[in-house]
Amino acid sequence: MSFLAPLFFLALAGLAIPVLLHLTQREKKQIVHFPSLMFVRRIPYQSVRRRKIHNWLLLFVRLAALALIILAFARPLIQRDDAAPIGAGSREVVVLLDNSYSMGFGDHWQRATAAARDQFAKMSASDRATLVLFSSGADIQMRSTSEKARFNAVLDTVKPGDAATRYSPALKVAGSIVAESTLPRREVVIISDFQRGGWRGEEGARLPQGVTLTPVAIQGAADKANLSVTGLSLARSMFSNQERLTVTAVVTNRTERSVSGSNIALETAGLPVANKPLNVEPGGSASVTFEPVTISSRNFKGTVRLADDALNADNSFNFVVSPSEPVRLTIVDRGNTDLYLTRALSIGEAPRFEAVSRQADAVSDEDLRRSTVVVLNDVDVSTGLARRLAKYVEQGGGLFVATGPRAKWPQDVDLLPATIGNPVDRTRGDAARIGSLEYGHPVFAPFRAPRSGDFSSVPVYGYRSLTAAKNAQVLARFDAGAPAVVERRTGSGRVLIWGSTLDVTWSDLPQRPMFLPFVHRAIRHLAGYTEPQPWVTVGQVLDASVAPRGASTQRVVLTPSGRRVPIEDEGSDVVELSEKGFYELRGDAANMNHTVVAVNVDPAEADLTPIDAKEIVAAATGGSAGGDGSQPNGIPLTPEAREKNQRLWWYLLIGGILLLGVDTLVSNRMAKT
């Protein structure tokens, strides 16, 4: 028998209280006032009776009651050999081995694999073990087997990856493995550096009842220096008609040791182009700006690299840039009426806009081919042009239609998102205002925040009444409820119609600050323009649909380690990025116009600040990390058996209370007699 709260035995000292009470009780009684002690004083009497205990029964009852209550509070725990373990002694052990890149710090990985080997070495012949490597996800390396040699062989081959630590997926995998196990003893061992960044107190990472979770912390060597590149700033500029890139790297030192005399290098296309000295204080950061480099080609690869230190995985940072591509558009108007529009488009930098103006009857196929967006600025469109534009939009082009007094569209070509009706004159009385906007749409999203442009302040003196088509979306309405901006997807392209003019004949909009962002956002949206991402982080996924499609060849993804991952046309076009470096999406072998994606490690993983492993254990096991719930031989008990072993305190408490009742009865009776 053992006790869960043995400190309560200190209260046994309280047993002296009834004895003292018995001995001193009579002296504490009230003083009797007597007229004179003249006669009493004459009586020779040696008082020894009060030093004796008179009520032995009462004393015994009180002592026993107190002792029982103290025993009950000490929570006796019976550890019986027959205490109903779930089965025999065979174990199901799941070893969760952290292979995030932070495990490459110093000798952490060697110690982690040694700890895993220890776990396998302790296995008996009937035990089964599973090895799970985890970082941002969990990967079962070997499942539920007793062959120790195979474990060691696997441990010889595995290495830390490039992903960040996440404990929750690993615990969920371990939970599912032990839940399926039929063996009586189920244990999960988690070997990790227990970084605080990997635990967010996730719900759901809960192991089944009776499973013990043992953390093995691999920590220490905090005195070693470790620098990491946590981010880059890329600034483009034009020089001699060539685009140049200025790279600024941010380097952080998260250790307690300063780094001086180190260096940082910039590599482009695999060759070093610049090298700079680097000094960083403990817990500090530094930024290093390199000389501008010329972006010589598409998919221009660059890497910022630090000198080797205790953790190398975070020493390099990759990026990919391409020369910026302008958005080309053709403006169809009646000649020299597009002043406001062309001025607005000429201001754009990211992206740049290249616009050509054509009259309606002069739009060539070549114009349509080179343009990603066509703007119809209050023109009468012939049926022929309308049909060509319909085909153009079907193939992915964008069409912006501004409707002034002259705008006309042939009835037989169903392309526009709204039917153009009669002009509405609002020059008399109050001018029309734009009453409601669809702020969730990309075109109007920048105007969502307060003081970001008030469309309702723009007077519109005339507009064409628009009747939205069935599958069109009204993005803005005039105050009378008439559609002002309507959009429709047709084929791969989009058509946007604006119910008034892009000059000042019907509206003051071109003179208002909202005009420029409105036009830019509309053209970018219609062109399907997205900001190019210079890098992504390990663990993110790559949408392979952006890879160029060849006529017949199989599309593949080439990983940094040189693996070729074919992309199934039928299946998902999503590739998980698990390595840092450059991924290449290749289409046609002959077509060198492939896509390159730079992948970097999560800089947050370089922060080795540890979390108390007990926190994870408590969350995963509901607070019981084994210990009191298992027998001396380590066999975990069922909750019923555990409760049964601890139930004795109930009986002791009830016994103590009953004895106190007996004490009351006895003392009452004695008082009466």
Binding site: V32, F34, P35, M38, I43, Y45, R49
Partner: protein, 303 residues
Amino acid sequence: MAEAHVIPGARFMDPVVLARIGNLELVSRAVADGFINGLHKAPYFGASVDFAEHRGYVPGDDIRRMDWRLWARTDRYYIKEYEAETNMNFSVLMDVSKSMDYGSRGITKFEYARILTACLTNLVHHQRDRVGFVAFDDAVVEHVPPSAKHMETVLHVLDRLKPGRPGHLKGPLHKLAEHFGRRGVLVVISDFYDEPEAILDAVSPLRFRGNDLIVFHVLDPTELEFGFTDAQPFEDLESGEQMPVVPDAFREEYRSLVRAHIDALTKSFASVRVDYTVLDTSKPLDHALYRYLGSRAKMMKVR
């Protein structure tokens, strides 16, 4: 109780009930009237208003007391003198020391003594005797000189009295012995916590001028029986001294000591012809009154 019915027809009341009434005049009248009704054939009653003798007139005498018939016969002025003028003085000397303030049965010795004094005073007043009162502890606390008009004063003084200080018989009683110059009846009421010799020494001088002395020894039943059960510390009311007492072990010894004390006092007082009576505060007052009347009868016979 046999003693309660010594005098047939008397309405005797429980002292505890009397103590609750509070108004001493009412109490004393009730007790004395009841007692007197039971004694209506007693030969002493009315003796004090009888004609005694004639004496010659001297200027200044009240002419209303002139015996005109005798003048008619003798042609001399005589004044009638009555027995009333020879009525005795009656004084109660009551111990009001702290030890008297003890009672275990609803009435303290002090209250008992007070009621007893009031009853005796009332009784005496009815008989046209002069009443006086002295309260003492270790000194004289109150003193009302004997007078036929002092009945109300005595009752008033009794009403105000409170026991408080330790008592000592010798000092005040010796002083009083010199004070009572005229022969009369003196009643001493006390609990007599002192050695018998010392008590006798203190009380005896009161008799020197021919006073008739009645001593009432007032005791609570607990003082007689020592009926305590639990071992407890006892504190002397007067000295404040404490000592642990185990009543079971003390009781017999205590009783025999008290008995010896009373015996010694009985013997001592008998030797000097002093009426000595032990009064138990749980008993009615008739015993004490009867004792007084008996004593007065003896005195009258002596005259």
